[in-house]
Amino acid sequence: MSLSKEDVQRVSLLARLKLSDDELTTMTEQLGQIVSYIDKLSELDTEGVKPMAHALDLTNALVDDEPHESLPREKALQNAPRSDDECFRVPAVLGE
């Protein structure tokens, strides 16, 4: 299975990445190689094998409902590209 430029364009849109035409060409080739490599897996006969939900053979990692301290607000906001004293600020979200 190989990727088309349109596939990569669509994935970049979903990932909110803006790629130049050159980057798109490079990405299509590189991602294509990765996908072809992964594609080897479909050579295996998985007839009758249940899909795996998790790589670890582990279930029920649950913890009690006891509150811990949260981050101080200035810490929570410190990595945001934009913020004010209280909130993260992002470009306007319209329509909702």
């Binding site: 998790h54 649950l62 913890v63 409902d65 509150p67 811990h68 949260s70 209280e86």
Partner: protein, 491 residues
């Protein structure tokens, strides 16, 4: 409306915020109303390397709720990532459940005491456990074209309950929501506060239009959002049905002809508006979340949860009718008030030994006061035992029902017992021989009444009751009537 040429098809998606202290995957508090961004941590901020861990309580509350909705609880469930970019979703994906939800295939019975629709079971496709997003606020006040984001709510546990498209009218949809909310209240799994967003409703609605050849044509499905009360849901659905029929007549569009549309209810304008589609982002690309391990549950554990489920509204309504001989209407009124009022009624009925009288007093006086004062039952000052003393006094003829209501008011305002309130109002049981003497005196003073009664007009005795009450306000009118008639008939 007389038989419109279409069936209305409604399915509801309800998001219920579960009553936990902490979030679904981190131990930040879920308390409502705190300053923005004071309840966050690396996990719910989606910082790289942070790992989610499932809240046991949230899973348990989900199982209980699903069981109460008659759902099957699979022995194995897992969580998946639902990818989309939105500023209130810092990870870029929501942890939700895709192909193996924690419950499926249930139903909720709805009924209409006033016969608006026939009793039915609304199917539940699934209920699954997922995390909430944060809150976006458009900052118009500061004149900046910015949206402000508060992530306190991010990661709060939500149970998404998805119904089958089984509802055929806005009234059925409202009944489903009311019954669901009541059920959640009895289970004590959520505070169900719509204003605080603890219960959110989206509706999927379309029409099956009847054609002249007796075909039914499905129109495109519309998802309606932004309904902030049950009344808003009902109105939005009424509006949407009318709008869709008009569109059908105009365009003839069938399901599949146009993409599924999302519309928002504008409660001020009382109409729905098309919402901007999240365009290409609707490719959620679900895959199992590698940060979370699956959860398993044995049939024995499911059975143990089943045992923890309290008596639920539908069963209680039946019980109040079958065991307490209440009318279905009174049983419905009492059960719809919640488990505390039901317990109060049961205690009252036990103490008075008269379920009918107890039901009438709870439905009439107690609920009236709760409504007038905007009280919860816990704030109501008269205990079931205290009220039972009053009702027993009425049963024993010490006072009649309307005097009883005066005593009830006195008990409320003075905070006293039935006995003290009766004393304060000067109510004493009138001695039997004193009552007889009083009646004889009045009868003898009213020869006209005697002759009227003797000539067959028993109603004439009513005039004597008023006179007796003037002489002694504590007399029981029914007793006076009977004694006076006996005296006249024995003359």
């Amino acid at each position: 409306m007389t038989n419109p040429p279409y069936d209305v098809i409604i399915g509801l998606e309800v998001h219920v915020q579960l009553r936990t202290n902490t979030k679904l995957f981190c131990r930040c508090s879920t308390e409502f109303g705190n300053p923005p961004n004071t309840q966050t941590c690396p996990v719910c901020l989606g910082l790289p390397g942070a790992l989610p861990v499932m809240n046991r309580k949230a899973y348990e509350l989900s199982v209980k709720t699903a069981l109460a909705l008659n759902c099957n609880i699979p022995n194995f469930t897992k969580w998946d990532r639902k990818q989309y970019y939105y500023p209130d979703l810092p990870k870029g994906y929501q942890i939700s459940q895709f192909d193996l939800p924690m419950s499926e295939n249930g139903y909720l019975a709805i009924s209409s005491p006033d016969g608006e629709f026939e009793d039915k079971n609304v199917g539940i496709i699934r209920a699954h456990l997922e995390e909430d997003a944060g809150k976006s606020m458009h900052d118009e006040a500061q004149g900046l074209a910015d949206t402000r984001i508060d992530l306190n709510r991010t990661g709060t546990p939500l149970l998404e309950i998805v119904s089958e498209p089984d509802m055929r009218s806005a009234e059925e949809a409202r009944a489903y929501l009311q019954e669901l909310r009541l059920l959640l209240t009895y289970l004590d799994v959520s505070d169900c506060n719509m204003q605080e967003g603890s219960l959110r409703v989206d509706a999927n609605v379309n029409l099956h239009v009847h054609t002249e050849t007796d075909e039914k044509i499905a129109t495109p499905i519309v998802e309606v959002k932004n309904m902030n009360s049950f009344r808003a849901v009902e109105r939005a659905l009424h509006y949407e049905v009318k709008r869709q029929y008009e569109i059908w007549q105009e365009t003839g569009n069938r399901i599949g002809d146009v993409p599924k549309q999302t519309r928002g209810w504008d409660d001020n304008a009382q109409l729905t508006r098309a919402q901007r589609e999240k365009e290409e982002s609707s490719d959620y690309r679900y895959f199992p979340d590698p940060d979370l391990v699956p959860v398993t549950i044995t049939n024995e554990q499911v059975e143990a949860f089943q045992q923890q489920i309290p008596e639920l509204p539908a069963a209680l309504r039946e019980k109040l009718v079958d065991e307490f001989s209440l009318t279905p209407y009174t049983a419905d009124v009492i059960v719809n008030q919640g488990p505390e009022v039901v317990a109060y009624f049961q205690s009252l009925a036990e103490h008075t030994g008269d379920a009918k009288q107890s039901g009438n007093w709870v439905q009439g006086e107690v609920l009236r006061v709760l409504k007038e004062e905007d009280w919860e039952l816990s704030e109501f000052p008269i205990s079931a035992e205290g009220l039972a003393d009053l009702l027993k006094a009425i049963q024993q003829g010490e006072l009649n029902n309307s005097r009883g209501k005066e005593v009830f008011s006195e008990m409320l305002s003075a905070g006293t017992s039935a006995a003290d309130a009766m004393a304060a109002l000067g109510i004493e049981k009138v001695d039997d021989s004193a009552l007889e003497d009083l009646c004889r005196e009045i009868v003898m003073a009213n020869p006209k009444v005697i002759s009227d009664v003797q000539s067959g007009n028993e109603k004439a005795v009513g005039a004597l009751i008023g006179q007796a009450k003037q002489k002694n306000p504590n007399v029981n009118p029914g007793q006076v009537r009977q004694i006076c008639l006996d005296i006249i008939n024995a003359l």
